[in-house]
């Protein structure tokens, strides 16, 4: 199956072409949906086959590269459309095609009746195509093709309902913002590639990574490469300072938020850091930057999440926050823990978004959680699956989020320091709180919606994916049970990925021995925090809603700051966007181009004009005048010759 891996890239492309070209004529939603979902389902099966085949192989034979054809071959550069099957790419491929398939199926129900149903499925397939390129690429340039490709699909899908209003502007503003902010990141990624090529003379992963070990390269060079790549990651994975696009990306249809802006695309930055772990491990300072950015992003996004009222906004900030966790893991060198969280997060966050979509669907596109309430009796399946996801993200054992989050928290202390742990644990506490605030305001308590709304459970095509994801969110963590519980077998997930991070681990070698007592103590503490936060949320939003109102009023400044997301968007507009626009318009165009440069050009034409007009006056046409000038000339010449003798 491994040599067929290119089909997992090709099939989504075929699906895109069929639905993109013929979709508007097929008109049959079931057929379009089946094609769109079918190609992803088959891709998943192929990836699964390749996974089991790989499991059966000895560790040193687990990498395989399938080359299709050469892409660019100039000078030393030689990159191909070549796909790499190894432990890391397989894990990612299973997440993308697996969760992707479920979301495709769900979309058949969610998008029912939309006039551009075919376009939606075409874009979704195109997205999977780009994403598969990103994770299966065997070189940086092909990864970048996927990297920009997913950005394009994100752009197309955020602006899917291009004539709708979104907040203060339109969905297409949100789409453009996403693309441009991502491009700022891509700028960094490009520079990273250039420096890699200059340093190692290649852009193929195997060559670059082996040369990273064998070549004698300065830490500063590694530092610049890592920094440039990380700038790329902050764009794609919505980290400080480039996170601003992700909350706006919620303008897209909800399955898009689930697939692209939660489960898969936004984790691309994490994947890329893990893939290039040896480079980051060779630049310890930048790795520290990664950890700090990750920890702060996790914390600040969580604080914003507490006060938002739009169901998707809360989930969006939660995603930013969870991505911060993953970067924290990368930063402290816990690469496989970060990837583990990518996986569990894909399960429970996709589930949360799809659940939210089910609620929005039922509530006729109302997204304000203050206008929900008591929905659990109307939509029991959505309610139950949502609850499981909320418990999972809050880190309640033994659900999947508990294992992955706890592993990160442990490494942030063991490999990092107490400060990281405090930020991480604080984030965990806030996460549990705002998730249950969201859950309670939506499903529990009194109904706060009008009689014009008739909430109902979604059709099976939507709820079955929810249930499958709920099972995964619940038990998905068991493949990564930490060593202290599983004993001699160790952490299975960790062992599977370990060979990929072996060079990086050797370089870092910072793992300090800590006692199992510490590990268990911190684990118990974080569970207590989470449970406490959930109980507190129940108390506030079910028993005494006045607390929330009073607190908001008492700390009005703080509340405003959070409600307005720390005014980051406004700050960017004032400090960057507007000055550039103003300068371009009123100076570069209207003055530099039109006045200065054209002034010189037209001015020199004018000078020639003026000179000619004056010289022309000499051409009087009177013969006597010409004769006079001639004589004068001869006399002058005569004198000049005599004088010079």
């Amino acid at each position: 199956m491994r040599e067929l891996i290119y089909l997992t890239v090709l099939l989504p492309l075929i699906g895109f072409l069929i639905n993109g070209i013929f979709g508007s004529r097929i008109k049959n939603e079931k057929l379009i949906g089946s094609i769109g979902s079918g190609v992803i389902g088959i891709s998943f099966l192929i990836a699964l086959g390749a996974f089991f085949e790989t499991l059966g192989l000895p560790v040193d034979q687990r990498q395989k590269i399938v080359t299709l054809f050469s892409w660019m071959s100039v000078g030393n550069l030689d990159v191909s459309f070549a796909y790499q099957v190894d432990q890391l790419s397989l894990v990612m491929a299973l997440i993308v095609t697996g969760v992707g398939f479920l979301i495709h199926v769900y979309s058949i129900g969610y998008m029912h009746g939309d006039k551009s149903f075919w376009r939606f499925f075409a874009y979704l397939n195109l997205f999977i195509f780009a994403m598969m390129n990103l994770i299966l690429a065997d070189n940086f340039v092909l990864l970048f093709l996927g990297w920009e490709g997913v950005g394009l699909c994100s752009y197309l899908l955020i602006g899917f309902w291009y004539d709708r209003k979104f907040e203060k502007s339109t969905t297409s503003d949100a789409a453009k913002k996403a693309f441009v902010v991502n491009r700022i990141g891509d700028f960094g990624f490009l520079l990273g590639m250039f420096l890699i090529y200059m340093t190692f003379g290649s852009l193929n992963f195997n060559e670059v990574f082996s040369r990273s070990v064998s070549f004698n390269v300065s830490t500063a060079t590694f530092g610049f490469i890592a920094l440039f790549l990380f700038i790329g990651a902050t764009g794609k994975s919505a980290q400080i300072p480039l996170f601003v696009w992700l909350p706006d990306a919620m303008a897209g249809p909800t399955p898009v938020s689930a697939l692209i802006h939660a489960a898969t695309m936004v984790t691309a930055g994490v994947y890329m850091v893990a893939r290039t772990s040896i480079i980051f491990a060779s630049a310890p300072d930048i790795l520290m930057v990664v950890a700090i950015i990750g920890a702060f992003t996790a914390f600040f996004a969580a604080t914003i999440g507490i006060v938002q009222n739009d169901i998707k906004k809360v989930l969006a900030y939660s995603t930013v926050s969870q991505l911060g966790y993953m970067f924290l893991a990368m930063g402290v060198g816990a690469f496989s823990a970060g990837i583990f969280h990518v996986m569990t997060h894909a399960f429970f966050k996709a589930l949360l978004f799809l659940g939210a979509g089910s609620v929005i669907h039922a509530m006729h596109h109302e997204q304000d959680i203050q206008k929900y309430g008591g929905l659990k009796k109307y939509m029991p399946r959505t309610y139950l699956t949502f609850l499981i996801a909320a418990l999972a993200i809050s880190g309640i054992p033994p659900l999947s989020g508990f294992f992955s989050k706890d592993e990160i928290l442990w490494y942030s202390y063991a490999n990092g320091n107490l400060f990281f742990w405090i930020l991480g644990a604080g984030t965990a506490m806030m996460t549990a709180f705002y998730m249950f605030r969201l859950y309670i305001l939506t499903f529990e308590g009194k109904e706060r919606f009008g009689h014009d709304k008739h909430p109902h459970e979604s059709p099976a095509v939507m709820t079955i994916p929810l249930m499958i994801l709920a099972v995964l969110a619940a038990i998905g963590g068991f493949i990564g049970i930490p060593e202290i519980f599983s004993g001699e077998h160790g952490n299975q997930f960790h062992n599977f990925l370990a060979p990929l991070f072996k060079d990086a681990d050797r370089k870092l070698a910072t793992y300090n021995m800590h006692s199992h007592f510490e590990e268990i103590l911190l684990m118990v503490l974080s569970v207590i925090f989470a449970v406490g936060a959930i109980m507190f949320a129940r108390y506030v939003y079910l028993k005494k809603p006045s607390i929330a109102v009073n607190t908001a009023q008492k700390f009005k400044g703080m509340y405003n700051l959070l409600w307005n997301k720390y005014f980051v968007d406004e700050a960017y507009d004032t400090a960057v966007v507007n000055p550039i626009l103003q300068t371009s318009r009123s100076f570069l165009w209207k003055i530099a181009d039109n006045k200065i440069i054209d002034g010189v050009v037209n001015g020199s034409a004018k000078i020639v004009d003026v000179i000619s007009i004056n010289i022309r006056k000499l051409q009087t046409g009177v013969a006597q005048f010409y004769a006079l000038v001639m004589v004068l000339g001869i006399v002058a010449a005569f004198f000049w010759i005599i004088l010079s003798l």
């Binding site: 054809f69 050469s70 892409w71 660019m72 071959s73 100039v74 000078g75 550069l77 459309f81 340039v141 970048f144 093709l145 990297w147 920009e148 490709g149 394009l152 752009y155 602006g159 291009y162 004539d163 339109t170 297409s172 503003d173 789409a175 453009k176 693309f179 441009v180 491009r183 700022i184 891509d186 700028f187 490009l190 520079l191 590639m193 250039f194 420096l195 090529y197 200059m198 550039i580 626009l581 300068t583 371009s584 318009r585 570069l588 165009w589 530099a592 181009d593 440069i597 054209d598 050009v601 034409a605």
Partner: protein, 516 residues
């Protein structure tokens, strides 16, 4: 040397057809149109024949045809191509029939004269790319100005006369300096060779030995002329006017081919003839190129006229090409050659699309549009596709060129600094801003202008014109090898000529024997 007259036939086809057009009655408008399209298509097919016969493993000039012309001055009708010129010849013959078809309904008056000038323009452009004699090159270079001047001046917009004269004087000014330099070179050759020559292949061995203090002046005289044509910042202000005023077909050819004559000239003449001066000038010209990339993008961003926006985007895109050329690495020069083709395709497509919509609404103001995605879905798709190609999305053509240029300039030993690439790469961000913002304002949102409701989507003819361009856009993006292979040898030869200029005396290589 064996003579091959295929190139001569190639140039004769448009030349003879343009003369024949003069003999057709001007009332027979449709016949004139079909005649021109069919014959320029035949020229394209012939250039394909040349492509298939071309040996890309050979770095020498091929298809050489050399006939004595002005005996006393040793000037020859001397044509031939290498990989770089072949690609540009193909671009020219490919775009000419398409633009003729595109102006089927937009050119209503004086069709006969228009067709005549247009075919003459093709003669001039092809001549520039295949000349191996500096004098012949100069003739074509100048001759090409005349038809373009009339195309802008007669079939252009409201300010067409101002734009046409500005275009003419700007370019004419530059070329006069070049003429002086050509004559000086030919005279200089008398000492080592024993005879006056404008033969480029001979001058390749002579010119690099010119003392540095003179070489720099020669370099500047050529470079100035080419820089105006490119156009390189700050010599670019003729371009927006010319583009905005020119009819669609004129804009397409102007952007698609004419600008490439400037960058082609730099590659064909400046670098190999004056290698040391080129190396000396490289950082300065690269600075201008980088300024052009950013400046062009920023000014494009704030335009209110969609055609002007595309025009300024050309300044930005051509900045990449010049940077690639003066970074002087194999990667960057290959990238520059590909980027010349790319720009011809993607900007050509953008101008065609602007023309399509202008023909229906007679406005180019961005604010007059909005929400047309629903009314003309196919147009919306095509505009998106062309914009993405121009933005440099990987998988489409623009990326390959930009990536190779930037990758090469980053390692360039001549520029020897990251900053050129760092600033140039920021152009990638701005390109996304100005194109997507334009797209958003034209295509997305609600419809505000009532007149737009009756808009008709693209017709079969318009789709037929764009389809081959779009196919090439994808082809170049996914499998650029087809094209990279063609120019690989000739660009690596240029690189070699820069770093190891011929330092042997011509007597040693036997050039002097002919004159004795």
């Amino acid at each position: 040397m064996e003579q091959n007259s295929l190139l001569t036939y190639l140039i004769l086809i448009p030349l003879i057809s343009s003369i024949l057009v003069l003999f057709i009655k001007k009332e027979q408008v449709n016949f004139i149109k079909y005649f021109a399209v069919v014959l320029s298509t035949i020229a394209f097919l012939l250039s394909l024949v040349i492509y298939f016969q071309f040996d890309s493993a050979n770095s020498e000039f091929q298809f050489i045809n050399k006939i004595e012309w002005i005996k006393g001055l040793n000037i020859h009708y001397h044509v031939g191509i290498d990989g770089m010129s072949l690609l540009l010849v193909l671009l020219t013959t490919f775009l000419t029939p398409l633009t003729l078809i595109s102006s089927w309904s937009s050119i209503e008056s004086k069709v006969k004269e228009f067709t005549f000038f247009f075919l003459m323009l093709e003669v001039g452009m092809l001549g520039v790319f295949i000349s191996l004699d500096l004098f012949l090159f100069y003739i074509f270079w100048e001759a090409m100005l005349i038809p373009m001047y009339f195309i802008i001046g007669i079939w252009g917009g409201k300010e067409r006369v101002y734009a046409a004269i500005k275009f003419f004087i700007y370019t004419m000014f530059g070329s006069l300096l070049m003429l002086v330099a050509i004559v000086w070179l030919a005279v200089y050759a008398i000492v080592p060779l024993g005879y006056f020559t404008t033969n480029l292949i001979e001058l390749y061995t002579i010119a690099p030995q010119i003392p540095m203090n003179i070489q720099i002046w020669m370099f500047l005289a050529f470079a100035f002329s080419f820089a105006i044509k490119v156009p390189l910042f700050p010599l670019h202000t003729w371009l927006p006017d010319a583009h905005v005023q020119a009819p669609t077909a004129g804009s397409v050819i102007l952007a698609g081919v004419l600008l490439k004559m400037g960058t082609y000239g730099l590659l064909r003449f400046n670098l190999p003839l004056f290698p040391e001066a080129s190396i000396l000038a490289a950082p300065y010209i690269s600075v201008l190129a980088v300024i052009g990339i950013i400046y062009g993008a920023l000014v494009a961003m704030v335009q209110t006229d969609v055609k002007k926006l595309v025009a300024y985007s050309s300044v930005s895109h051509l900045g990449f090409v010049v940077l690639g050329i003066f970074a002087m690495t194999q990667e960057s020069i290959q990238g520059a050659v590909i980027q010349m083709i790319n720009h011809g395709l993607s900007t050509g497509a953008l101008f065609l699309l602007v023309g399509v919509i202008y023909e229906r609404t007679h406005t180019r103001e961005i604010s007059d549009y909005g929400g047309i995605a629903k009314i003309v879905p196919f147009f919306a798709f095509a505009l998106m596709f062309a914009s993405l190609s121009s933005v440099g999305l990987p998988g489409l053509n623009g990326f390959v060129g930009e990536f190779l240029i930037l990758l090469g300039s980053f390692q360039s030993p001549i520029l020897n600094s990251w900053w050129f690439t760092v600033f140039a790469s920021s152009g990638v961000i701005f390109a996304a801003v100005y194109l997507l913002w334009m797209y958003q304002r034209v295509v997305f949102g609600p419809v505000t202008n009532q007149k737009l409701f009756g808009l008709k989507d693209m017709n079969a003819r318009e789709i037929f014109v764009l389809a081959p361009i779009f196919i090439l856009i994808v082809w170049l993006g996914i499998y650029p090898t087809t094209f990279l292979k063609v120019s690989d040898r000739s660009t690596s030869k240029v690189v070699k000529m820069i770093y190891n200029p011929v330092k042997v005396s011509p007597t040693e290589i036997g050039l002097n024997n002919s004159s004795k």
